[in-house]
Assembly symmetry: C2
Homo-oligomer: 184 residues x 2
């Protein structure tokens, strides 16, 4: 009862999850899964999958549940892309979205629940024009824009570790002639 | 009205912010600001500053407001450390914490609102023993443990860029003898 009282006393944003499901292809050829919305708001428009977090459920569990319900996929989080909480982001009420980047662990995509259809979008070419098209629900074009930046920086950090590998490879190649030189 | 109805219909966790305020000293000598709680739950225990997000306010604005109220400091976010939403994290109700890492932009710390006192804690030595002490409110020892990991990896990424610098420096040194060799 104390719980309920404390809850009702405050007026707070309603927490939700949204998530980008990545399907990694070959180099830079990844795709992400978008949903055509079956219901208002933004009926018929594209969005990333998502939904409200229920009391008693963690953000991660809400994400797993919504992924299963909307896409039939079992997904796991890779990272938190951001938290989006502009009061104008949802016309129904003030929502706060914990936005995950996720990978598929199991299953085949199949639209369920309030998804009219699912659509794979290539991150390298299709996504940019889609972001510009203004056919995206809520603030999800902002989210997808931030995701593109994340992709770039995460690739940059992969490149940076390959640089480390490159460096250690080079180092061996370099050490050799120096040793030869030392024994000359 | 539709707003209120939609809000009351759902039972969701109550969103809050918590934040680590870093004061960077010389190398690896940073401090973070903890609060002795004036009120229950966990009265008298240490926590990181935080509070609930009001409807109509972004998570970042809630963080700025609470920082001002509790510590008199003006802070800005550096990163989102994580989102903590275990239903058992707060004995009063199910809360979801968006946890920021922040830096001081202006002001001097001064305990206000529901902070009984403020305490700077060195991240290199004091923090570990504090995390182990179990004198920390809510799930904030978990948050501080994750923060220590974040500090290490963020330093590692600094080291990795110095490696790049190191590599490009080395490369020049290496290119020289090779050029010399080529002209031999």
């Amino acid at each position: 009862m104390a719980r309920e009282e404390a809850y009702d006393k405050h007026k707070n944003p309603v927490p939700a999850v949204d998530f980008i499901i990545i399907n990694d292809g070959d180099n830079n050829n990844s795709k992400i899964l978008l949903v055509t919305r079956k219901n208002d708001p933004f009926k018929g428009m594209l969005s990333i999958p998502g939904g409200f977090i229920n009391a008693g459920e963690t953000a991660e569990d809400a994400m797993r549940r919504e992924a299963k319900e909307e896409t039939s996929l079992i997904v796991e989080p890779i990272a938190i892309l951001g938290v989006y909480s502009d009061p104008r982001r949802d016309p129904r009420m003030h929502t706060l979205s914990v936005t995950f980047i996720t990978r598929i662990v199991q299953g085949n995509e199949d639209a369920g629940d309030d998804a009219a259809a699912l659509k794979w979008v290539k991150t390298e070419d299709e996504l940019d024009s889609l972001i510009e098209s203004k056919r995206i629900a809520f603030d999800h074009s902002k989210i997808l824009y931030d995701f593109k930046k994340w992709l770039k920086s995460s690739r940059a950090s992969v490149d940076s570790s390959s640089c480390l590998t490159f460096w250690s490879t080079k180092k061996e190649q370099i050490d050799e002639p120096m040793q030869v030189k030392a024994t000359e």
